[in-house]
Symmetry: C2
Subunit: 212 residues, 2 copies
């Protein structure tokens, strides 16, 4: 049960229903979840190990806060992960998998044409996920997942500038070329650059936010 509770808590944190910094009162959560404190506490500790909540001795748990510096640090690490994933995936990709990615890429472009940002992000995410699947390194995928979870709240960077969007699309097209060439180092380099672009984009967005 504690794993289900952990998942529900995780979702609540991701959705922003539990505000970063706020305390997690066991009794209240137990009531709303309909479980006793034992599984709830175990769930909270699982999330703590994932870095989603922080534990203070004798003072319980609170939703983890994330600083701008930590967000930018995360993008650096994710960049390294994506770069490695690209290196591994390119030499391994099958023609069928390549076709799948091409399809997702087209769908992504259509969303862009229709100015459907949500759809764009879904396909964008699918492409990156597919590369990690093809890379076939469970630890790599899991590590990236955990880091992503911690900064998932950045979904709300929905607004993307036109020029940034163009760069992203261009980089994705380069990715396709590297994949077709089965060129690992090349795809790795593109993905590192791609994530660095994203990181700069996030940095700018954070700048704007904090100056408001």
């Amino acid at each position: 049960m504690h794993l289900e509770v952990a998942d529900r808590l995780r979702e609540m944190i991701e959705r922003g229903e539990l505000i970063p910094g706020s305390k997690l009162i066991e009794k209240d959560l137990c009531q709303s979840f309909g479980v006793s404190r034992t599984p709830m506490r175990e769930a909270i500790r699982v999330l703590a190990a994932d870095g989603l909540v922080v534990l203070t001795p004798n003072r319980g748990a609170s939703v983890a806060t994330i600083t701008e510096a930590q967000i930018l640090d995360s993008f650096l690490v994710i960049g390294a992960m994506e770069g490695l994933a690209g290196e591994l995936a390119a030499p391994r990709i099958t023609d069928a998998q390549l076709d799948d990615i091409r399809a997702m890429h087209s769908a992504m472009l259509e969303c862009r044409a229709a100015d459907d940002l949500d759809g764009y992000y879904v396909y964008n995410r699918q492409i990156h996920d597919a590369i990690f699947d093809i890379a076939d390194n469970a630890l790599l995928k899991e590590t990236r997942r955990i880091i992503f979870t911690r900064i998932i709240k950045l979904r709300f960077i929905a607004r993307i500038a036109e020029d940034e969007w163009q760069i992203a699309i261009k980089e994705h097209e380069e990715m396709l070329v590297a994949l077709e060439a089965r060129n690992g180092p090349q795809l790795g380099a593109i993905l590192r650059r791609h994530l660095e672009s994203k990181r700069i984009q996030v940095a700018r967005w954070l700048q704007r936010q904090s100056s408001i």
Copy 2:
């Protein structure tokens, strides 16, 4: 208390006192630790989140096993981490920090001359740790620590072939050059290559082991 218990359990697993695959019987562990089941269970779940133990519903916990493929996967991920750490550290390193690393490097060489393998590994590890400290990315450091913990049992790769040792020393000297030049991309590339060497070395060692 559950964090202290988790640390003790972690040590026991690292020391090999708890054999991979063996079951963790709560009652027995509670007795030997002198705590009740509640903190023990919380500790076990913390280790599960770290990947050191695996939980099976209604069947409790057992010490995680690691396959050869997973070990090699881990080295790939660590390689990406070290590469990034090098990129970040080189442009940031101070003269004092550089002196420290030079000192560790000398001490490491002395250990090699004296054929003191344990000492060699201590200083080797210190140098790599220092680079991560200088890189100043807490997430990067923490991620690497967790992955290292999972494969820590590989300490027992104590035996290192002469030619492998020479290569490692040479790479470390290249690292010093890149650090002195404050050249991030260069240090990153060296570290990636260094870890790839290590990975190949481990792969060969695993091969030898399994063929016995």
